[in-house]
């Protein structure tokens, strides 16, 4: 019957029907998948959002030793701390209480993968967003802060879920956050000018 190419009036070619059915379903599924693309793409950051994410400059002369400033880059608060020599010295004493003292599992540019987590010891630049769930860690620079215990070396404490970080943004054991505060890409153009959002000064042009 199939050989002659003639099918009797009431005979149903099941395998042919099954093939046509699955071919139709498969074609439809591919069509649906392609149609979904523009709808999914519409949720990604718009051109305007991307343009507004350009690098930002900061005038370092505004900061006295021990002070912190916050600038906005890509809708994230960037903490810029001018550390005192005592603050820098305090970083050496508590490696055993940190989850990731050498920043091996944390996110930072190569020039900040060190104990100070910065290009230079004086200035700390961090994304001020808790790596746990995105709250703003508060500045708690005073040693032995009564809320945080007598052995508190100074740093940041998150009000939402209680994560604690030292003055290099390294996370303490017992925090819900698992990794250190992120360091954004940044460059020091000269003694006064810091650029957040680029890895070297040329990129800022």
């Amino acid at each position: 019957m199939a050989d002659s190419g003639v099918i009797a009036d009431n005979a149903v070619d099941d395998s042919r029907r099954k093939f046509l059915l699955s071919a139709t379903v498969a074609t439809g599924a591919v069509g649906v998948a392609f149609t979904a693309v523009p709808f999914i793409a519409s949720w990604t950051p718009s051109e305007r959002a991307r343009a507004l994410g350009a690098p930002v400059d900061f005038d370092l002369s505004k900061l006295e030793p021990g002070q912190m400033a916050t600038v906005i880059w890509q809708r994230q608060p960037i903490y810029i701390v001018r550390r005192t020599p005592e603050m820098v010295a305090s970083l050496a004493g508590h490696d055993s209480r940190l989850k990731d003292p050498k920043s091996e599992d944390s996110d930072q540019p190569p020039y900040a993968t060190n104990q100070m987590r910065s290009r230079v010891a004086d200035y700390l630049v961090l994304i001020g967003v808790c790596t746990h769930l995105g709250c703003l860690p508060k500045q708690r620079f005073d040693r032995g802060n009564p809320e945080l215990g007598a052995d508190w070396p100074g740093g940041f404490a998150c009000p939402c879920h209680g994560s604690r970080f030292d003055l290099a943004g390294r996370v303490f054991e017992g925090s819900p956050a698992s990794v250190n505060l992120k360091v954004p890409p940044y460059a020091l153009a000269d003694a006064r000018k810091l650029i957040v959002g680029v890895n070297d000064v040329k990129g800022a042009a």
């Binding site: 879920h161 209680g162 819900p176």
Partner: protein, 421 residues
């Protein structure tokens, strides 16, 4: 079926009248007969059986007040907060419509939690009602999504930070996490784009899904019939007329009972709306009366009370990925109940002391976690939350064992019911 008194479609109205005209064109008669006067429900419902109906009434309140709020609300970073204040201060009766909607959100969760507890108490999720339970849980999940996105819309400071924290939970998914978070936000932080898409989801997409799920929940309920406090299937004991011996028609018996229930509920609801609409920061948090500020996190940052049991679990675990996993696990555990419960009886009335003890501990841990989630994240609170998470999860995941070990009481042949004197 013998339960149907008249042949369906036979109009009770006089021929030539409007009702007769309608009955010929719409299956109104059949609907009333199968769903109300010919639908038999167990006669021993108690106070716990009010909440399903009340939940439907709250859903209607939310739909109506929600539609009215969209007439005055303007989504957008620059306009949202001001338009909500405009509703509160300048739209005539706007404050009432908004308070009805915000109180309705909390009322919805109170009612749904009591409705869920009823199911745990009387084993309503057990066979043959597994799908009914699963649809109900999907309603609960849709409701959580709806409540969360609605909470973001006023663009107060707590709205902003709640969105920040919850959206970031998706960031722990290995590999795709950070990209997914950026996709949900549509920007590098919670922004105008996030607010606008949440508005679209809150007023259109999720309510449509919610309505569909509620219909499926009710259709599945009509197929199996309601369970009851004795956990006996009334369909198994039919009288000579084919009607369940322990059943009574939904209308007029339970329509009247539910009317009483809804009256009591509406009195309590109105008291909150008119006298304590914020319920001292529990229904509307103080921090949300300030506009969103990306540079200032409220202290403490807490979600609405109905999410705090899960939020407390998230905070308790000193590891980001594990914390998020426990949160998801805590919410999703309900879904598996029909298959975790191996007890031969449904109702807690005939179960052994182990089931009763685990359910009691579950309720204590749920309420304890709810309280802890509203507090500052101190070390004590963290440790307490860790301790309470154990009985919470044990209730679900030890259920296959304790429901088999315990000795149950014999279940009576017929439902126990004493008419009021």
């Amino acid at each position: 079926m013998a339960a149907v008194v008249k042949p369906p479609g036979e109009p009770t109205a006089k021929p030539g009248g409007l009702r007769a005209w309608l009955y010929k064109r719409l299956p109104i008669e059949e609907f009333l007969e199968t769903q109300l006067t010919g639908y038999f429900a167990p006669k021993n419902f108690n106070v716990w059986y009010f909440f399903g109906f009340i939940a439907i009434v709250v859903l209607v309140i939310q739909l109506v007040t929600g539609i009215y709020l969209t007439m005055f609300y303007k989504p957008g970073e620059a306009t949202s907060f001001d338009s909500v204040e405009f509703i509160m201060r300048e739209v005539n009766s706007g404050w009432l419509i908004r308070y009805l909607h915000s109180t309705g959100a909390s009322a919805f969760f109170i009612v749904v939690y009591l409705h869920m507890f009823r199911a745990l108490l009387y084993g309503s999720y057990k066979a043959p009602r597994e799908l009914l339970w699963v649809f109900g849980m999907l309603v609960y999940l849709a409701l959580m999504a709806e409540a969360f996105m609605g909470y973001v819309l006023p663009w107060g400071n707590m709205s902003y930070w709640a969105a920040q924290v919850i959206v970031n939970v998706f960031g722990v998914i290995p590999g795709i996490g950070p990209g997914l978070v950026e996709w949900i936000r549509g920007d590098y932080g919670i922004a105008d784009s996030t607010l606008n898409r949440f508005f679209a989801l809150h007023v259109a997409a999720v309510p449509l899904g919610l309505l569909l799920l509620v219909v499926l929940h009710l259709v599945a309920l009509r197929r199996t019939g309601s369970s009851n406090p004795d956990g006996i299937e009334i369909k198994e004991k039919l009288g000579a007329d084919g009607k369940p011996l322990d059943g009574i028609p939904f209308h007029p018996y339970y329509t009247v009972k539910d009317t009483f229930g809804i009256s009591v509920f509406l009195v309590l609801f109105a008291i909150v709306v008119f006298f304590v609409p914020t319920l001292n920061g529990l229904f509307l948090e103080h921090a949300n009366f300030l506009p969103a500020d990306p540079l200032s996190t409220p202290e403490p940052i807490t979600p609405s009370w109905y999410f705090t049991p899960y939020y407390a679990m998230l905070r308790a675990i000193p590891n980001q990925r594990l914390g998020a996993l426990v949160l998801v696990f805590g919410v999703m555990s309900y879904m598996f109940l029909p298959w975790l419960d191996r007890s031969p009886v449904k109702s807690m009335r005939y179960r052994g002391w182990l089931s009763k003890a685990f359910l009691t501990l579950f309720v204590i841990s749920f309420l304890g976690l709810m309280y802890l989630g509203l507090q500052l994240p101190t070390r004590t609170a963290q440790i307490m939350a860790r301790i309470l998470t154990v009985p919470y999860l044990a209730y679900f995941w030890l259920m296959p064992f304790y429901t088999r070990w315990e000795r149950c009481k014999p279940v009576p042949e017929r439902v126990r019911f004493h008419a009021h004197g």
